[in-house]
Symmetry: C2
Subunit: 434 residues, 2 copies
Amino acid sequence: MNIPQTSSPRVVIVGGGFAGLAAARGLEEQELQVVLIDKHNYHTFQPLLYQVATGGLEPDSIAFPLRKRFNDVENFYFRLAEVTKIDSENNTLETTIGCIEYDILILATGSTTNFFGNKNIQENSMEMKSVPQALNIRSLVLENFEEALLESNLEKRLALMNFVIVGGGPTGVELAGALAEMKKGILPKDYPDLDIRQMKINLIQSSGELLKGMSNKASQKAEDFLRKLGVDVWKNLRVLDYDGETVTTNGEDHFKAQTVIWAAGVKGALVKGMHTDCVLERPCRIKVDRYNKVVGYDNIYAVGDVACMETETYKYGHPMMAQPAIQQGRLVAKNIIAQLKGNSQKAFVYNNKGSMATIGRNKAVVDLPKWKFQGVFAWFVWMFVHLFSLIGFRNKVIVFMNWVYNYIRFDRETRLIIRPYKRKNKYSFDKEHV
Amino acid sequence: MNIPQTSSPRVVIVGGGFAGLAAARGLEEQELQVVLIDKHNYHTFQPLLYQVATGGLEPDSIAFPLRKRFNDVENFYFRLAEVTKIDSENNTLETTIGCIEYDILILATGSTTNFFGNKNIQENSMEMKSVPQALNIRSLVLENFEEALLESNLEKRLALMNFVIVGGGPTGVELAGALAEMKKGILPKDYPDLDIRQMKINLIQSSGELLKGMSNKASQKAEDFLRKLGVDVWKNLRVLDYDGETVTTNGEDHFKAQTVIWAAGVKGALVKGMHTDCVLERPCRIKVDRYNKVVGYDNIYAVGDVACMETETYKYGHPMMAQPAIQQGRLVAKNIIAQLKGNSQKAFVYNNKGSMATIGRNKAVVDLPKWKFQGVFAWFVWMFVHLFSLIGFRNKVIVFMNWVYNYIRFDRETRLIIRPYKRKNKYSFDKEHV
């Protein structure tokens, strides 16, 4: 790894997402050596991935180079690598670029798509947890329309224009809304020789309501907004399989579709080598105490999506979202500093600032702790909050300019197939690469 | 292809670059059916590719969706395909998505990298004629530094930080300058634990001057600018081979380098099926008359890089650049309309508006027909001209914002490895995909 041994304790952070970044920032300017490891050289602002997938934003606008964030930080090291195993007996991490010892380890590996063990679905459907995956969706959607244009067989053409989004959480809802806006504003102009009315957007939710975890009002309003935009919302329907052609469900409805986007679940991105008794099977997350210390270890912490802190309010851990991740990351840094200074640590209490989702132009739902509202104002609040949460001044400005442009012009201009997804056999481009 | 047969003559344009786009625009609103075929669904603004390669601009900012350009044009059809063969006896094109008949054919296929038959160089070096290729260079440069950080063998580390650019035309000069600015401003901050002084940028030119075709003053000043930025300029040196490790030349100097960017030549992107007597071997372009009509054909035109019109001033054809391409594209449209209306055609006369190249911040060279100047003002002129040549209002604004930001902050923020290039074995990502 080529990192110098110093007298300062070494904290290794795995993952530069919301939690890992917050932890690393909290550990600046301390008598510590901090090593941040990530498989990408950038931080991804995941809440806006769906806009990259639907051509509203450029990929670089929602990603931020990790090295730049820590340009002026002393005793900080970034390494582009994937961690393959933890050897906790020797306080060592095995990675794709060699081994590294740690004094304190912070796991902030985030989450990956949960296919619940269904290999067929995993192989044939699209996921959206990273920038390349979002770009793959963008390419596939556009390639489908190019292909539909040439397809004389009606059934095949309909399958190319049939989009199935599985999972009615924020990702599924926002993606369905964005696709519906493409259908309305852009596709009829881009494909005048195709009957875009034949395009279908199906959002399938296994339970009885969308945006589980938000208020009933938000859930109901989001559904109304989607239906108004022409999305077919299917509730209480469970997807059982997808062979690349047909989505089979536990109901009477099946779907012939070339594109299935799986947003029905996430699970903690575990690392090999942990004791089995600290790994929770069901949500597939690492069990931590109130200080985000992994159960059974003295010097390993876990924060964000991968960590499961069971509390009275959050019996199955905190929601796998940006806010708990950021707050845990910040606190774990403070607690590590306190511990090293011999001070007492502070237990984590989640400050739920609220949640929100956008469905489309002038259409969003916002649940604040004391105020729940929907519609135009909610949409502006959503934009404002996301804009200011983006890292980096340049990204804020560029995203803002894009949004202003898209709003005024009813457009999404980055509908480019930079790397084709479907022609992967020809170009040996693989969906494995995320 | 699924394009309706109408009573109007059908003009098929192959290629949506500068020439093809200009031709298509010139044929709007006529009693014609226009079919535009391109292997990408976007137009690429090639003069700024080097900024994508060096992290100054996002790829989407210099690409423009072709369908959008023709949203409101009647009787216009775009098809995403590659042309595999011309069957001129039957007035038919064979493509990857089927055959199409034409009444008039316009070849605007542009140019590809010319390796002059050297398979080794072709296999081991990078080219920069498309957005994915520029992104590959960006990834490779950054991956090299990540790897250099870990490399304890000095010779190997130096090879990772040694960049060889072959070809001292505008592409080579601009790329060398941009890399030198990365070395100066960004890399030392991003890689504080690496001795960036060990990074070398070599620009190799086989003849005695850079920017051949521009004035001596421009050529000399560009060289001065490059040397000031720390670029090693090698003149009168010819690269003979590159095996992936060592660049061998016809001189005494050889270069151990992990990265070779080949900007030493282009050739017309020919299509199979033409009579051999209209294909010029040496520049590998299609011979056209003064009306851009391909020699030996009545209804096939060629415009832009692929076309070679031998005139008294331009004995080996016009320079393979944007300006002649745009002018030929425009005129060929007018001439086709004239022909169909029974009016006389106009011979092409190239209006050379001048040429320019940028080396770095405040450093550019501009040759206008009556005025040649270099330095800060030239740099602003360069920016102004390129900004206003970009297609689309959004792209103009976003590029402008990026440039202002980069100028004020001495930064290039899009240094992201979205799709790794080197780890292609692992991820089966192939350089073939351009």
